[in-house]
Amino acid sequence: MLAALIVPVVARLRYELGFILALAGVGLSAAASIWSLVYVLDNGTMHYNLGGWAPPVGIEYVVDLISAFVAVIVTSVATLVIIGTRRWADREAGDRLGSFYGLVMLLITGLVGMVVTGDLFNLFVFLEISSLAAYALVFLGGGRAMLAGFRYLILGSVGGSFYMLGVGFLYFSTGTLNMGEMKDILTDDATARSVQAGAAFIFAGLGLKMALVPMHLWLPDAYTFAPSSVNTLIAPIMTKVGAYAMIRMFLSVFPDGYLKDVVPIGDALLVLGLIGIIFGSVAAMSQKDIRRMLAYSSISQLALIAVGVGLGTPLGLVAALLHIMNHAVMKATLFMAAASVRFTSGITQVADFTGLGRRMPFTMGAFTLGALAMVGIPPATGFFSKWYAVQAGIESSQWIVVAVVLVSSLLTAVYLFRILESAYLHPLQPEPSHGHDVPDGFGETEQELALEAQAREAPLDMAIPTVVLGLSTVVLGVLNAVIVINILEPGIA
């Protein structure tokens, strides 16, 4: 059937070499997933039986509103990022460019597969496909990235194995792997201890993949030392899909309320999420390297998603899903801007951002939009998901959620405005990596002018995707009511 469009398009192209083909592959799958979102909006959920076997026997792909929504986010953000990081990929992958793009396609195949699958074990397979590609991509960074990549591999495999163990428990108690059927069986009878154990193992496994707080150790190193073309790609979408899988467990595997009332996983997510929000923000404040700072900020934002899921109310889930989209767009903007800055000037330290606002107006403009969205200034996207999270908190009288979300906005402002302040309010400094020779005797202003003459914006094909992403934070923010009413609320109901 029609959902099949997404997967084969990606799958067929994953061995293709080169930027153009990779771009065509992602672009096509983005188009396919947007089309399938429209289709689902009109006609309801799509089902596709792999190999023609009917669901309980065969593997089923299910595209409902929510998975179509997440697939659109993943593929369209990936498209923009691949365009934007082409120059980085050229520089970093060198003569292995073909296999680099092969891995990128493999990663996206895995992620899209995780989103559309309706089978628990199939989810595991796609999870490992995307993770393997991500390990290898991180490892390409060399030096410390190799160690970070190895650690990511060990921890990621533990996460995957825990997930598989949990699926095993569920399979032996229900005799099915299909998500829909699993839910039916568990709704009738879910008292078995083994089901509870299974739920706990799945929670631990997916928690590792989405870098929930005590299990986040792989993330900062992996994001910091990975090649710029890679961290820009995996930071916005990789952990989001882990979060999506967690939401899927709540929505379509376990019966309504099971994960809150019978097994206290909702509470665990809530508590770990609240700790994570604060921890991530505080850790981000003390980082000097912008990539590391953004990585810790990712932990904090993912924790916000976890809180939304943990509340378990429809409003909480809306907040979580909306934040998946928002954070994908915002983080892509910020990482893209950071990558562009590093590309033109080699700057990675926050302290060196002084005066960049004048030298790279478009890139830093987009960075500003992304930062404002992260903090949650109204027209930009971040505001709305936080708004829903706060509302959900009030609704279920979890006042601590309200407090923590508000405080986290403040902390986010602290660490992001630090960069904006030095980028816009401080005078230009000589570029540290190039060390221009300004002749002696020049006054302060002449020195500035001399540098301003050399002011360089990032190359156009890097600047444009960055700006598009930055603007989309605002556009999506304005359009958020449309998204919530038409896609998310019916999707959750």
């Binding site: 074990f121 595991f124 397979v125 490992e128 393997l132 390990y135 290898a136 490892f139 060399g142 030096g143 410390r144 190799m146 160690l147 990549g149 190895f150 591999l153 060990i154 495999s157 533990v158 995957g160 194995s161 598989m164 163990l165 095993g168 399979y171 032996f172 792997l177």
Partner: protein, 126 residues
């Protein structure tokens, strides 16, 4: 207690192996030993799945057909559950792939630093 363990021996064994694997990954400093720990961990899960599909006195789930007549009885009680075996084939492929990638990583790391001890490596790369 002993009877209990003996009756469900494969499950206890896989539980113990999981613990051993986790210890290897967390407690050992050598990256190779971490990898071995991970492999033990994954094998334990495979054992768990296979043990779950077993049944006393059951046989292969194959129907013998000769001249259109089914020779073996069609009674699900007599067969082991084949699905976990199939799943575990996939899982084995996945774990082989992961091990392969990890070993490639280790070779690269060793060529660069002539060292596979985590703590001294961390000092070297800084």
């Amino acid at each position: 207690m002993i009877d209990e363990i003996a009756a469900r021996f494969p499950y206890w064994a896989s539980g113990v192996l999981i613990a051993v694997g986790l210890y290897g990954m967390i407690g050992k400093r050598s990256l190779v030993k971490k990898l071995i720990g991970m492999n033990i961990f994954q094998s334990a899960i495979i054992l768990f799945f296979i043990a779950g599909s077993m049944r006393d006195g059951a046989t292969l789930p194959i129907l013998l057909i000769e001249d259109g007549h089914i020779l073996t009885p069609v009674d699900p009680e007599l067969y082991v559950n084949p699905l976990p075996h199939v799943l575990m084939l996939t899982a084995i492929v996945v774990s082989v792939a992961i091990t392969g990638v990890a070993l490639a990583f280790l070779i690269r790391i060793y060529r660069e630093y002539q060292d596979l001890d985590e703590e001294s490596l961390l000092k070297k790369v800084r």
